[in-house]
């Protein structure tokens, strides 16, 4: 791996690194040139970043400043020492590069006066940072391609993307995993020295299949299953993991990419792949625009899930968090993705409990409607227990509570009045149970009214748009024989319906199961 001449901080041209398959034609450095991230307002990640530090300082030993200023904290000194510790040397990171990184890290801390507040003991060593950045770089490029592909911007890439994806899921038994894995990951197989002596939990996963020959069949199957579970993406995501030490607190993200594909975490998150709040705010703006313009739900949902994940791993809980969940919840509602909606709703409940702002009334109302839909009495009871007297008077919540009580008392008249006058996006939820409630009301009418009622009455009572819709609904449940033309218009022969709607009602009220997601 040591093809780079460790003479300069400027990275070798990409051509010297066969491993960069995803390298665009433009002359880009093979890794992130280590620019100081004091501001989040930076240029897009895929453009060239100016090189630093200034050449005059370049090759000076890093310990130098230590001698000049005596007031280096002990932790910093230890950090420097650890960086040079032979046990920590990584073969594919040239010493000069490591030194530059170390220097940059320390001077950044000095400049921003965070020398004392930085947790030097847990800060990744410069060599690890470099490695992460390389991985990150590759990741960015790949994810950029994927984004463009999934957005349909470039068709060839899309095809490539799809075949790649397909191959990922079918290659499980094949030996070409090595070929398909991203370059920096393949590099891990060539690791030696230190790496070989330490067992990393994830390491096994990066090995191509043929290396498993020695392991038991069980183990192999286990591996295979694990990979299948990962859906082919995760290896990309997880590979640089060995470098990050599991920290004890929430992660602080450093990623600057706006978009990120969602992966389910199976190991501690890596800071370089987590976007800090400022970036996430930009992401949200971008996603809002995209949703309006393209309306691609699977893309939006995926992006929102990764945003939620980034927020969670960093334990960001503020008004912005609320906004993210709210917007995702609304979009999911609009698309009828109740599984995703329910996840958001659960989080929102906890977030509202901390008074972080947002629109608690709107969403508490949805929550009630949602539990009506799922006929979840226990949850409904809990919701009622949580509402304050003042909240019960809020328009949206009052509406939802009225819906609930109308249904509990079988007052379909009131229910459908409420249905026609639903605030916010509650109608999306009500649409989900309006059919079964119509059937219930029809079953009710058919038993109580004799001999018939005007079709107009059904239309009005059950909130249909027109007589035509009402008739169609009755038709759909094989009730065509119950409609009769009389001198004053169409009549609905309730007296002759028998058990027709009763049976349909019972069918419709069977337990609603909405574990399934879109």
């Amino acid at each position: 791996m040591n093809q780079w001449a460790p003479v300069s901080v400027v990275p070798p041209p990409p051509g010297t690194q066969d491993m960069y398959r995803y390298q665009p034609v433009s002359a880009e450095p093979a890794y992130h040139p280590v620019q100081a991230r004091q501001t989040f307002n930076q240029t897009p990640a895929y453009t060239m970043v100016p090189q630093q530090p200034p050449p005059s300082l370049q090759l000076q030993p890093v310990q130098e400043p230590q001698k000049k200023k005596i007031d280096w904290p002990h932790s910093v000194r230890m950090y420097v020492q650890r960086s040079f510790d032979p046990a920590n040397v990584l073969d594919d990171i040239p010493r000069s590069e490591m030194e530059a990184k170390l220097k940059e890290t320390i001077s950044r801390a000095t400049d921003s006066q965070s020398l004392d507040s930085t947790d030097w003991d847990n800060l990744p060593l410069p060599q690890h940072m470099i490695r992460q950045e390389r991985a990150h770089k590759a990741w960015q490029e790949e994810s950029l391609k994927m984004q463009m592909a999934s957005n349909g911007y470039i068709n060839p890439a899309r095809e490539q993307f799809i075949t790649q994806k397909k191959r990922k899921s079918t290659e499980m038994g094949g030996g070409n995993a090595k070929e398909n894995s991203p370059p920096w990951q393949r590099a891990t197989n060539n690791r030696n020295g230190f790496e070989d002596r330490v067992t990393f939990p994830e390491k096994r996963q990066h090995l191509p299949d043929d290396s498993l020959k020695g392991t038991s069949k069980f183990q192999k199957n286990l591996e295979k299953r694990q990979r299948r579970f990962d859906g082919g993406y995760k290896s990309t995501y997880q590979a640089p993991n060995y470098a990050s030490e599991p920290s004890s607190g929430p992660v602080v993200g450093t990623s600057q990419t706006l978009e990120k594909q969602y992966f389910r975490l199976t190991a501690p998150p890596i800071p370089s792949q987590v976007r800090p709040e400022a970036i996430l705010r930009q992401t949200l703006d971008l996603l809002k625009k995209k949703w309006k313009k393209e309306g691609n739900y699977s893309y939006i949902c995926d992006q929102f899930k990764s945003m939620r994940q980034d927020l969670t791993v960093q334990r960001i809980k503020n008004e912005f968090t609320v906004t993210v969940y709210e917007i995702h919840a609304r979009i999911a509602l609009e698309k009828g993705d109740l599984g995703e909606y329910n996840q958001c709703q659960t989080q929102l409940k906890a977030l509202y409990a901390q008074n972080l702002g947002g629109k608690p009334f709107e969403f508490k109302a949805y929550r009630i409607l949602y539990f009506i839909h799922t006929s979840n009495r226990t949850a409904l009871n809990d919701v009622l227990a949580d509402l304050t007297t003042a909240e019960k008077k809020e328009k949206a919540i009052k509406h939802a509570l009225d819906v609930r009580s109308a249904l509990a008392l079988g007052n379909y008249h009131r229910f459908f009045r409420l249905y026609l006058d639903t605030p916010n996006m509650g109608a999306y939820l009500m649409d989900m149970f309006v059919v079964r409630e119509r059937l219930a009301a029809l079953a009710n009418m058919c038993k109580a009214f004799k001999p018939d009622v005007p079709l107009r009455y059904v239309t009005e009572e059950l909130g249909f748009e027109s007589d035509g819709d009402a008739a169609q609904f009755i038709y759909d449940y094989q009730g065509q024989a119950l409609l009769e033309e009389k001198e004053d218009g169409l009549r609905f022969l309730t007296g002759k319906a028998g058990q027709l709607f009763e049976a349909a009602r019972a069918q419709a009220f069977r337990k609603v199961d909405i574990k399934g997601q879109i």
Binding site: S247, S248, G249, P250, V251, R264, L265, T266, A267, P268, P269, K305, R308, Q309, T312, V313, R315, Q343, T346, Q347, A350, A353, R377, T378, L380, N381, D382, L384, A385, S405, A408, L409, G410, N411, Y412, H413, R414, A443, N444, M445, K447, A448, F449, K450, P451, V453, Y457, E460, E461, G495
Partner: protein, 453 residues
Amino acid sequence: MESVFQCFQRGYGNGDGYALSDTLSPIPPESQPDRLNNFFRSTNFANVKRDFKQALLRNSEVGMSEEEYNGWVEVYVAYWKAVGELLAADAAPKSNSKAAWTKTYDAWKELTSVLHRGYSNHGFPSWTLPCLYVAGKFLRIFAIKADEATPTSMSAVTSFGDDLNPDAEKNEKLEDAARQLNRIFNLCLSDREPNLALSRKWGIYYTTNLLLKTYFKLNQIGLSKNILNAIRAYKGDMPLLDKFPASQQVTYKYYIGVICFLEENYVEAENNLTEAWNKCHKDAIRNKELILTYLIPCHLLTTHTLPTLALLSPYPRLQKLFLPLSRCIKKGDLSGFDTALVAGEDEFVKRRIYLTLERGRDIALRNLLRKVFIAGGFEEPKEPGAASVRKTRIPVAEFGAAISIGSKETMDNDEVECLLANMIYKNLMKGYIARDRATVVLSKGGAFPGTGV
């Protein structure tokens, strides 16, 4: 130390499981308030095992196997450690007791595991099961204490979920306790001892009740299903429920009843709760009150009956809960019913009976409509001397007027018809609505089933 092991010997010698379990209680007996303190001070970490071995040897000429003897030594060593943590937690300042209670919980959990091992590996006899009861009972209590104690710092990310689970953090230890109790449950359930009299299956209902109690506290009542299914699966292979202590039967039946109640299976709920009610100890006022809290709403829906004053007289709380509603239901006072329901809403919701009681409005409405029907009087007799017949054709408007009494706005006819249709649909009223004539035609024989008219 000696006193504890003397008690052990007495309990063991007499084969008295409950006396034996007293030696493992984290609450000192009233006669020896300092027992825990003295017990803990009687030895130290270095010597505890040796000391207990000797003490147990001195006090156990009761012929237990070497294996079992070692098991008990382990148990008392674990107990000694747990007592140490407990004493520390009791002494810890309230504002900063989370760590101490967490340690207590963990130590007690260790004791529970050691006991568990005692049964699975060291051949503890099943009559000593009450020791396991004590362990389980206080495991739950210490878990709650640990969860309730004020935390000092935010914990790190421990799971890789995409979203936070706020409840999981709030009830971390209690959820863990539920898992431990589940282990105990399985230890009892899966005993293969062919002689039922010697089987650990006698521990089933105590542990089940403890588990159910925990699930209720965790608000994860759905998990009870697994337990109940397991019990059902082993049914033929287990002592009958009525052979167990009455207290266990009552508790079990109560929980089953409440679970059915929450699933709206009111008939089953009523059966189970009635059984619990009948077997409940006459002086267990609190328990009887709990049973009635669910049994009364059950009766309202299944048999349309309300509790008598005499039944409620020993329970002022229940009187406050149910009497206002009962009065309104009897009178058919709809607006009064609504007011009472709103007034009691918080209490009802807390006890999970609100949604059930709300349906009592149907009965109130039925009673009101019945009054209208009776007020309608009789038909003109067609021939003198014939049996008088009530008027069965009643204008919808008359019902509407009655429904609107007490409320400020008049209900429109469509809605009145809707409510009437509901009454008919639910068989609370017999007849039909002739919409074109705006009349309700009621059945001549029993227009309001079960009410005598």
